[in-house]
Protein backbone atom coordinates (compact mmCIF):
# COMPACT_ATOMS: atom_id res chain seq x y z
CA UNK A 1 0.00 0.00 0.00
CA UNK A 2 2.67 2.49 1.06
CA UNK A 3 4.73 1.38 -1.96
CA UNK A 4 2.09 2.65 -4.36
CA UNK A 5 1.90 5.98 -2.53
CA UNK A 6 5.66 6.43 -2.71
CA UNK A 7 5.69 5.41 -6.36
CA UNK A 8 3.16 8.15 -7.21
CA UNK A 9 5.01 10.79 -5.17
CA UNK A 10 8.37 9.88 -6.73
CA UNK A 11 6.90 9.92 -10.23
CA UNK A 12 5.25 13.33 -9.79
CA UNK A 13 8.36 14.86 -8.25
CA UNK A 14 10.47 13.52 -11.11
CA UNK A 15 8.06 14.99 -13.65
CA UNK A 16 8.01 18.31 -11.81
CA UNK A 17 11.77 18.61 -11.73
CA UNK A 18 11.88 17.85 -15.46
CA UNK A 19 9.73 20.94 -16.01
CA UNK A 20 11.35 23.49 -13.70
CA UNK A 21 9.69 26.55 -15.30
CA UNK A 22 6.28 25.12 -14.35
CA UNK A 23 7.61 24.65 -10.86
CA UNK A 24 8.95 28.18 -10.57
CA UNK A 25 6.06 30.16 -12.05
CA UNK A 26 3.73 30.00 -9.01
CA UNK A 27 6.61 31.16 -6.80
CA UNK A 28 7.49 34.01 -9.15
CA UNK A 29 3.82 34.94 -9.14
CA UNK A 30 3.82 34.90 -5.32
CA UNK A 31 6.83 37.26 -5.24
CA UNK A 32 5.41 39.64 -7.83
CA UNK A 33 2.00 39.92 -6.14
CA UNK A 34 3.74 40.78 -2.86
CA UNK A 35 5.74 43.57 -4.48
CA UNK A 36 2.59 45.10 -5.99
CA UNK A 37 1.02 46.21 -2.73
CA UNK A 38 3.72 48.60 -1.47
CA UNK A 39 3.57 50.26 -4.90
CA UNK A 40 -0.21 50.41 -4.77
CA UNK A 41 -0.65 51.43 -1.13
CA UNK A 42 2.44 52.98 0.44
CA UNK A 43 6.02 52.13 1.32
CA UNK A 44 5.51 53.35 4.89
CA UNK A 45 6.77 50.63 7.27
CA UNK A 46 3.87 51.18 9.66
CA UNK A 47 1.37 50.66 6.83
CA UNK A 48 3.28 47.68 5.47
CA UNK A 49 3.47 46.05 8.88
CA UNK A 50 -0.28 46.28 9.18
CA UNK A 51 -1.18 44.95 5.74
CA UNK A 52 1.78 42.53 5.51
CA UNK A 53 0.20 39.38 6.96
CA UNK A 54 -2.97 39.78 4.88
CA UNK A 55 -1.10 40.44 1.65
CA UNK A 56 1.20 37.47 2.15
CA UNK A 57 -1.72 35.10 2.77
CA UNK A 58 -3.78 36.34 -0.20
CA UNK A 59 -0.68 35.96 -2.39
CA UNK A 60 -0.12 32.43 -1.01
CA UNK A 61 -3.74 31.50 -1.82
CA UNK A 62 -3.47 32.81 -5.40
CA UNK A 63 -0.08 31.10 -5.94
CA UNK A 64 -1.57 27.77 -4.81
CA UNK A 65 -4.49 28.33 -7.15
CA UNK A 66 -2.08 28.92 -10.04
CA UNK A 67 -0.13 25.76 -9.21
CA UNK A 68 -3.32 23.63 -9.18
CA UNK A 69 -3.61 23.64 -12.95
CA UNK A 70 -0.72 21.22 -13.33
CA UNK A 71 -2.13 18.75 -10.81
CA UNK A 72 -4.40 16.60 -13.01
CA UNK A 73 -4.49 18.25 -16.42
CA UNK A 74 -1.48 16.57 -18.05
CA UNK A 75 -2.38 13.16 -16.57
CA UNK A 76 -5.95 13.61 -17.82
CA UNK A 77 -4.78 14.48 -21.32
CA UNK A 78 -2.18 11.72 -21.73
CA UNK A 79 -4.35 8.96 -20.23
CA UNK A 80 -2.30 8.20 -17.10
CA UNK A 81 -5.17 9.38 -14.90
CA UNK A 82 -7.24 6.54 -16.42
CA UNK A 83 -4.48 4.11 -15.54
CA UNK A 84 -4.47 5.36 -11.95
CA UNK A 85 -8.25 4.94 -11.76
CA UNK A 86 -7.92 1.37 -13.04
CA UNK A 87 -5.14 0.51 -10.62
CA UNK A 88 -5.54 -2.21 -8.00
CA UNK A 89 -4.71 0.31 -5.28
CA UNK A 90 -7.53 2.51 -3.94
CA UNK A 91 -7.81 5.73 -5.91
CA UNK A 92 -7.98 7.99 -2.81
CA UNK A 93 -4.51 6.73 -1.82
CA UNK A 94 -3.02 7.41 -5.26
CA UNK A 95 -4.70 10.79 -5.42
CA UNK A 96 -3.30 11.58 -1.97
CA UNK A 97 0.14 10.75 -3.36
CA UNK A 98 -0.36 13.24 -6.18
CA UNK A 99 -1.58 15.92 -3.77
CA UNK A 100 1.36 15.26 -1.44
CA UNK A 101 3.78 15.67 -4.36
CA UNK A 102 1.93 18.82 -5.43
CA UNK A 103 2.24 20.24 -1.91
CA UNK A 104 5.95 19.45 -1.82
CA UNK A 105 6.57 21.33 -5.04
CA UNK A 106 4.17 24.26 -4.49
CA UNK A 107 3.36 24.53 -0.76
CA UNK A 108 6.75 23.96 0.83
CA UNK A 109 8.59 26.51 -1.38
CA UNK A 110 5.93 29.04 -0.29
CA UNK A 111 6.67 28.26 3.34
CA UNK A 112 10.40 28.76 2.72
CA UNK A 113 10.08 31.81 0.47
CA UNK A 114 7.44 33.77 2.40
CA UNK A 115 9.58 34.79 5.43
CA UNK A 116 12.25 36.17 3.06
CA UNK A 117 9.69 38.21 1.15
CA UNK A 118 7.97 39.21 4.38
CA UNK A 119 11.17 41.01 5.37
CA UNK A 120 10.27 43.61 2.77
CA UNK A 121 7.19 44.29 4.89
CA UNK A 122 9.35 45.08 7.91
CA UNK A 123 7.81 42.24 9.97
CA UNK A 124 9.53 41.09 13.15
CA UNK A 125 11.47 37.81 13.27
CA UNK A 126 8.82 36.26 15.51
CA UNK A 127 6.13 37.15 12.99
CA UNK A 128 8.16 35.52 10.21
CA UNK A 129 8.40 32.32 12.21
CA UNK A 130 4.67 32.26 12.95
CA UNK A 131 3.94 33.07 9.29
CA UNK A 132 6.07 30.14 8.16
CA UNK A 133 4.45 27.82 10.71
CA UNK A 134 0.93 28.93 9.77
CA UNK A 135 1.72 28.45 6.06
CA UNK A 136 3.20 25.02 6.83
CA UNK A 137 -0.10 24.01 8.46
CA UNK A 138 -2.34 25.86 6.01
CA UNK A 139 -0.88 24.99 2.57
CA UNK A 140 -1.68 21.25 2.78
CA UNK A 141 -5.34 22.19 3.31
CA UNK A 142 -5.14 24.56 0.32
CA UNK A 143 -3.72 21.77 -1.85
CA UNK A 144 -6.28 19.22 -0.65
CA UNK A 145 -9.28 21.53 -1.16
CA UNK A 146 -7.88 22.83 -4.43
CA UNK A 147 -7.35 19.32 -5.77
CA UNK A 148 -11.12 18.68 -5.69
CA UNK A 149 -11.65 21.67 -7.98
CA UNK A 150 -8.69 20.68 -10.16
CA UNK A 151 -10.12 17.17 -10.61
CA UNK A 152 -13.61 18.46 -11.41
CA UNK A 153 -12.28 20.85 -14.07
CA UNK A 154 -9.58 18.48 -15.45
CA UNK A 155 -11.65 17.90 -18.59
CA UNK A 156 -12.66 21.52 -19.04
CA UNK A 157 -10.68 23.73 -21.45
CA UNK A 158 -9.47 27.10 -20.03
CA UNK A 159 -10.75 26.21 -16.59
CA UNK A 160 -8.63 28.93 -14.88
CA UNK A 161 -11.43 31.30 -13.95
CA UNK A 162 -13.87 28.50 -13.13
CA UNK A 163 -11.31 26.77 -10.91
CA UNK A 164 -10.82 30.00 -8.95
CA UNK A 165 -14.58 30.43 -8.54
CA UNK A 166 -14.96 26.86 -7.30
CA UNK A 167 -11.96 26.72 -5.00
CA UNK A 168 -11.47 30.16 -3.43
CA UNK A 169 -14.68 30.01 -1.35
CA UNK A 170 -13.49 26.68 0.06
CA UNK A 171 -10.14 28.21 0.97
CA UNK A 172 -11.61 31.15 2.94
CA UNK A 173 -11.39 29.54 6.39
CA UNK A 174 -7.66 28.93 5.88
CA UNK A 175 -7.22 32.55 4.79
CA UNK A 176 -9.13 33.87 7.80
CA UNK A 177 -7.29 31.80 10.40
CA UNK A 178 -3.88 32.04 8.71
CA UNK A 179 -3.94 35.80 8.31
CA UNK A 180 -5.26 36.22 11.85
CA UNK A 181 -2.47 34.10 13.34
CA UNK A 182 0.14 36.15 11.49
CA UNK A 183 -1.48 39.45 12.48
CA UNK A 184 -1.58 38.39 16.15
CA UNK A 185 2.13 37.56 15.99
CA UNK A 186 2.85 40.87 14.26
CA UNK A 187 1.09 42.72 17.09
CA UNK A 188 2.99 40.77 19.72
CA UNK A 189 0.02 38.66 20.84
CA UNK A 190 -0.21 34.89 21.18
CA UNK A 191 -1.21 33.32 17.83
CA UNK A 192 -1.96 29.88 19.32
CA UNK A 193 -5.75 30.04 18.89
CA UNK A 194 -5.93 30.46 15.11
CA UNK A 195 -3.01 28.07 14.65
CA UNK A 196 -4.95 25.30 16.38
CA UNK A 197 -7.96 26.07 14.19
CA UNK A 198 -5.71 25.87 11.12
CA UNK A 199 -4.47 22.50 12.35
CA UNK A 200 -8.05 21.33 12.82
CA UNK A 201 -8.84 22.32 9.22
CA UNK A 202 -5.75 20.45 8.06
CA UNK A 203 -6.80 17.26 9.85
CA UNK A 204 -10.29 17.51 8.37
CA UNK A 205 -8.90 18.12 4.88
CA UNK A 206 -6.40 15.26 5.09
CA UNK A 207 -9.05 12.76 6.16
CA UNK A 208 -11.94 13.79 3.85
CA UNK A 209 -10.13 15.50 0.98
CA UNK A 210 -8.66 12.51 -0.86
CA UNK A 211 -12.02 10.72 -0.97
CA UNK A 212 -13.72 13.79 -2.44
CA UNK A 213 -10.93 14.24 -4.96
CA UNK A 214 -11.02 10.54 -5.91
CA UNK A 215 -14.77 10.81 -6.53
CA UNK A 216 -14.14 13.95 -8.59
CA UNK A 217 -11.50 12.14 -10.65
CA UNK A 218 -13.81 9.18 -11.30
CA UNK A 219 -16.58 11.51 -12.40
CA UNK A 220 -14.35 13.56 -14.70
CA UNK A 221 -13.05 10.35 -16.32
CA UNK A 222 -16.55 9.12 -17.17
Amino acid sequence: MGQALLAVVRRDLRIAFRRLPDLASPLMFFAIVITLFPLAISPEPTVLREIGPGVLWVAALLATLLALNTLFRSDFDDGSLEQLALSTHPLPLLVFGKILAHWLISGVPLVVLSPLLALSYDLSLNTLQVLALALLIGTPTLSLLGSVGAALTAGVRQAGGLLALLVLPLMLPVLVFGARATTLAATGQDPAGPLYLLAALAVLAVTLGPFATAAAVRVSLE
Binding site: Q3, A7, R11, R14, R19, S74, D78, G79, T88
Partner: protein, 213 residues
Protein backbone atom coordinates in the same frame (compact mmCIF):
# COMPACT_ATOMS: atom_id res chain seq x y z
CA UNK B 1 -26.78 -13.74 -27.50
CA UNK B 2 -27.93 -15.57 -24.43
CA UNK B 3 -27.71 -13.42 -21.33
CA UNK B 4 -26.55 -16.05 -18.83
CA UNK B 5 -23.56 -14.77 -16.92
CA UNK B 6 -20.56 -16.84 -17.88
CA UNK B 7 -19.04 -18.28 -14.71
CA UNK B 8 -15.38 -18.15 -15.59
CA UNK B 9 -15.30 -15.48 -18.26
CA UNK B 10 -16.22 -11.97 -19.17
CA UNK B 11 -19.65 -10.82 -20.31
CA UNK B 12 -21.71 -7.72 -21.01
CA UNK B 13 -25.44 -7.92 -20.38
CA UNK B 14 -27.93 -5.52 -22.02
CA UNK B 15 -25.58 -2.53 -22.25
CA UNK B 16 -27.14 0.75 -23.30
CA UNK B 17 -25.22 4.00 -23.67
CA UNK B 18 -26.20 7.42 -24.96
CA UNK B 19 -23.77 10.14 -25.99
CA UNK B 20 -25.81 13.34 -25.70
CA UNK B 21 -28.43 12.92 -28.41
CA UNK B 22 -27.27 9.67 -29.99
CA UNK B 23 -27.84 6.16 -28.79
CA UNK B 24 -24.42 4.52 -29.30
CA UNK B 25 -25.65 1.01 -28.52
CA UNK B 26 -28.63 -0.47 -26.75
CA UNK B 27 -29.28 -3.91 -25.27
CA UNK B 28 -25.77 -4.97 -26.31
CA UNK B 29 -24.80 -8.34 -24.84
CA UNK B 30 -21.86 -10.60 -25.55
CA UNK B 31 -19.64 -12.94 -23.63
CA UNK B 32 -16.21 -14.49 -24.06
CA UNK B 33 -14.61 -17.35 -22.21
CA UNK B 34 -10.97 -18.34 -21.65
CA UNK B 35 -8.86 -18.10 -24.81
CA UNK B 36 -11.43 -16.02 -26.72
CA UNK B 37 -11.17 -12.48 -28.10
CA UNK B 38 -13.98 -10.05 -28.90
CA UNK B 39 -13.37 -7.76 -31.86
CA UNK B 40 -15.40 -4.53 -31.81
CA UNK B 41 -15.85 -3.16 -35.31
CA UNK B 42 -17.75 -0.15 -36.58
CA UNK B 43 -17.30 3.16 -38.40
CA UNK B 44 -15.72 6.14 -36.66
CA UNK B 45 -17.90 7.61 -33.94
CA UNK B 46 -19.96 4.43 -33.57
CA UNK B 47 -19.05 4.20 -29.89
CA UNK B 48 -16.20 1.67 -29.93
CA UNK B 49 -14.10 3.66 -27.49
CA UNK B 50 -17.11 4.36 -25.28
CA UNK B 51 -17.91 0.64 -25.18
CA UNK B 52 -14.33 -0.16 -24.13
CA UNK B 53 -14.51 2.46 -21.37
CA UNK B 54 -17.74 0.87 -20.14
CA UNK B 55 -16.04 -2.54 -20.28
CA UNK B 56 -13.19 -1.21 -18.11
CA UNK B 57 -15.66 0.31 -15.65
CA UNK B 58 -14.41 3.84 -16.33
CA UNK B 59 -17.84 5.03 -17.43
CA UNK B 60 -21.16 3.63 -16.18
CA UNK B 61 -23.66 2.45 -18.84
CA UNK B 62 -27.22 3.85 -18.85
CA UNK B 63 -28.58 0.32 -18.48
CA UNK B 64 -27.05 -3.12 -18.32
CA UNK B 65 -24.03 -4.48 -16.49
CA UNK B 66 -20.57 -5.86 -17.09
CA UNK B 67 -19.65 -9.12 -15.36
CA UNK B 68 -16.26 -10.69 -14.69
CA UNK B 69 -16.25 -14.29 -13.48
CA UNK B 70 -20.02 -14.04 -13.07
CA UNK B 71 -19.91 -11.04 -10.75
CA UNK B 72 -20.58 -7.40 -11.52
CA UNK B 73 -17.37 -5.41 -11.95
CA UNK B 74 -18.61 -2.58 -9.70
CA UNK B 75 -18.72 -5.03 -6.77
CA UNK B 76 -15.16 -6.25 -7.29
CA UNK B 77 -13.27 -3.17 -8.36
CA UNK B 78 -9.93 -4.36 -6.97
CA UNK B 79 -10.14 -7.93 -8.29
CA UNK B 80 -11.23 -6.67 -11.71
CA UNK B 81 -8.40 -4.12 -11.74
CA UNK B 82 -5.96 -6.97 -11.06
CA UNK B 83 -7.35 -8.93 -14.00
CA UNK B 84 -7.54 -5.99 -16.42
CA UNK B 85 -4.96 -4.22 -18.62
CA UNK B 86 -6.32 -1.31 -20.66
CA UNK B 87 -4.68 0.74 -23.39
CA UNK B 88 -6.74 3.55 -24.88
CA UNK B 89 -6.12 5.97 -27.76
CA UNK B 90 -3.73 7.90 -25.55
CA UNK B 91 -1.13 5.46 -24.27
CA UNK B 92 -1.17 6.67 -20.66
CA UNK B 93 2.49 7.66 -20.76
CA UNK B 94 3.77 10.91 -19.31
CA UNK B 95 5.61 12.92 -21.92
CA UNK B 96 8.43 14.03 -19.66
CA UNK B 97 9.38 10.55 -18.47
CA UNK B 98 11.17 7.92 -20.53
CA UNK B 99 9.29 4.76 -21.56
CA UNK B 100 11.32 2.84 -19.00
CA UNK B 101 10.41 5.22 -16.18
CA UNK B 102 6.75 5.10 -17.18
CA UNK B 103 6.80 1.30 -17.24
CA UNK B 104 8.68 1.08 -13.94
CA UNK B 105 5.99 3.31 -12.37
CA UNK B 106 3.12 1.12 -13.58
CA UNK B 107 4.95 -2.05 -12.55
CA UNK B 108 5.46 -0.59 -9.08
CA UNK B 109 1.75 0.22 -8.99
CA UNK B 110 0.88 -3.32 -10.00
CA UNK B 111 3.56 -4.85 -7.83
CA UNK B 112 4.85 -6.82 -10.83
CA UNK B 113 8.49 -7.18 -11.80
CA UNK B 114 10.08 -4.21 -13.63
CA UNK B 115 12.47 -6.70 -15.31
CA UNK B 116 9.59 -8.05 -17.40
CA UNK B 117 8.90 -4.52 -18.63
CA UNK B 118 12.50 -4.17 -19.88
CA UNK B 119 12.15 -7.44 -21.80
CA UNK B 120 8.93 -6.22 -23.38
CA UNK B 121 10.53 -2.96 -24.39
CA UNK B 122 13.33 -4.75 -26.22
CA UNK B 123 10.80 -7.20 -27.70
CA UNK B 124 8.93 -4.20 -29.10
CA UNK B 125 12.15 -2.77 -30.49
CA UNK B 126 12.23 0.15 -28.09
CA UNK B 127 15.74 -0.36 -26.72
CA UNK B 128 17.07 2.51 -28.82
CA UNK B 129 14.65 5.08 -27.39
CA UNK B 130 14.23 3.63 -23.90
CA UNK B 131 16.22 6.57 -22.56
CA UNK B 132 14.40 9.33 -24.46
CA UNK B 133 11.45 11.21 -22.94
CA UNK B 134 8.17 9.95 -24.42
CA UNK B 135 7.50 13.33 -26.03
CA UNK B 136 10.54 12.68 -28.31
CA UNK B 137 9.11 9.35 -29.49
CA UNK B 138 7.18 8.77 -32.72
CA UNK B 139 3.50 7.81 -32.53
CA UNK B 140 4.41 4.22 -33.37
CA UNK B 141 7.03 4.04 -30.64
CA UNK B 142 4.59 5.53 -28.15
CA UNK B 143 2.01 2.95 -29.12
CA UNK B 144 4.61 0.20 -28.62
CA UNK B 145 5.54 1.60 -25.19
CA UNK B 146 1.84 1.63 -24.23
CA UNK B 147 1.50 -1.99 -25.34
CA UNK B 148 4.64 -2.84 -23.38
CA UNK B 149 2.70 -1.82 -20.27
CA UNK B 150 -0.13 -4.17 -21.21
CA UNK B 151 2.33 -7.02 -21.76
CA UNK B 152 4.15 -6.29 -18.49
CA UNK B 153 0.89 -6.27 -16.52
CA UNK B 154 0.30 -9.99 -17.22
CA UNK B 155 -3.42 -9.41 -16.84
CA UNK B 156 -6.01 -12.03 -17.78
CA UNK B 157 -8.21 -9.59 -19.74
CA UNK B 158 -6.75 -7.20 -22.32
CA UNK B 159 -8.86 -4.24 -23.36
CA UNK B 160 -7.16 -2.50 -26.31
CA UNK B 161 -8.42 0.48 -28.32
CA UNK B 162 -7.07 0.45 -31.90
CA UNK B 163 -3.83 -1.29 -30.86
CA UNK B 164 -2.58 -1.58 -34.46
CA UNK B 165 -2.77 2.10 -35.38
CA UNK B 166 0.66 3.65 -36.04
CA UNK B 167 2.27 0.20 -35.80
CA UNK B 168 4.37 -0.92 -38.76
CA UNK B 169 4.23 -4.46 -40.18
CA UNK B 170 6.83 -5.81 -37.79
CA UNK B 171 5.10 -4.27 -34.75
CA UNK B 172 1.75 -5.66 -35.85
CA UNK B 173 3.29 -9.07 -36.26
CA UNK B 174 4.84 -8.96 -32.80
CA UNK B 175 1.58 -7.84 -31.17
CA UNK B 176 -0.47 -10.52 -32.93
CA UNK B 177 1.99 -13.16 -31.77
CA UNK B 178 1.77 -11.89 -28.18
CA UNK B 179 -2.02 -11.87 -28.43
CA UNK B 180 -2.11 -15.46 -29.62
CA UNK B 181 0.14 -16.64 -26.78
CA UNK B 182 -2.00 -14.62 -24.34
CA UNK B 183 -5.16 -16.31 -25.62
CA UNK B 184 -3.32 -19.61 -25.67
CA UNK B 185 -2.66 -19.30 -21.95
CA UNK B 186 -6.41 -18.88 -21.31
CA UNK B 187 -6.34 -15.09 -21.47
CA UNK B 188 -9.16 -12.97 -22.94
CA UNK B 189 -9.24 -9.75 -24.94
CA UNK B 190 -11.70 -7.10 -26.04
CA UNK B 191 -10.19 -5.17 -28.92
CA UNK B 192 -11.62 -2.32 -30.97
CA UNK B 193 -9.97 -2.16 -34.36
CA UNK B 194 -10.48 -1.45 -38.05
CA UNK B 195 -7.99 -4.17 -39.01
CA UNK B 196 -8.85 -7.86 -38.92
CA UNK B 197 -7.43 -9.96 -36.11
CA UNK B 198 -5.88 -13.10 -37.50
CA UNK B 199 -7.07 -15.10 -34.55
CA UNK B 200 -8.58 -18.54 -35.30
CA UNK B 201 -12.28 -18.12 -36.08
CA UNK B 202 -13.47 -20.32 -33.19
CA UNK B 203 -11.65 -18.05 -30.72
CA UNK B 204 -12.96 -14.83 -32.26
CA UNK B 205 -16.28 -13.07 -31.60
CA UNK B 206 -16.96 -10.08 -33.83
CA UNK B 207 -19.36 -7.34 -32.69
CA UNK B 208 -20.32 -4.56 -35.07
CA UNK B 209 -21.49 -1.22 -33.71
CA UNK B 210 -23.04 1.70 -35.47
CA UNK B 211 -25.79 -0.19 -37.25
CA UNK B 212 -28.09 0.04 -34.23
CA UNK B 213 -29.84 3.44 -34.26
Amino acid sequence: MQNTTHQDGFDCDGLTLWRGDRCLFSELSFQIGAGAAALIRGPNGSGKTSLLRVVCGLSPPEEGAVHWMGKGIQQQRQAYAKALAYNGHTDGLNAELTPLENLAFFCALRGSEPASSVANLSGLGLDACAGLPVRALSAGQRRRAGLARVLAADARLWVLDEPFTNLDGEGRHYLTAQLLTHLGNGGMAVIASHQDLDVPAEQLLTITLGGAN
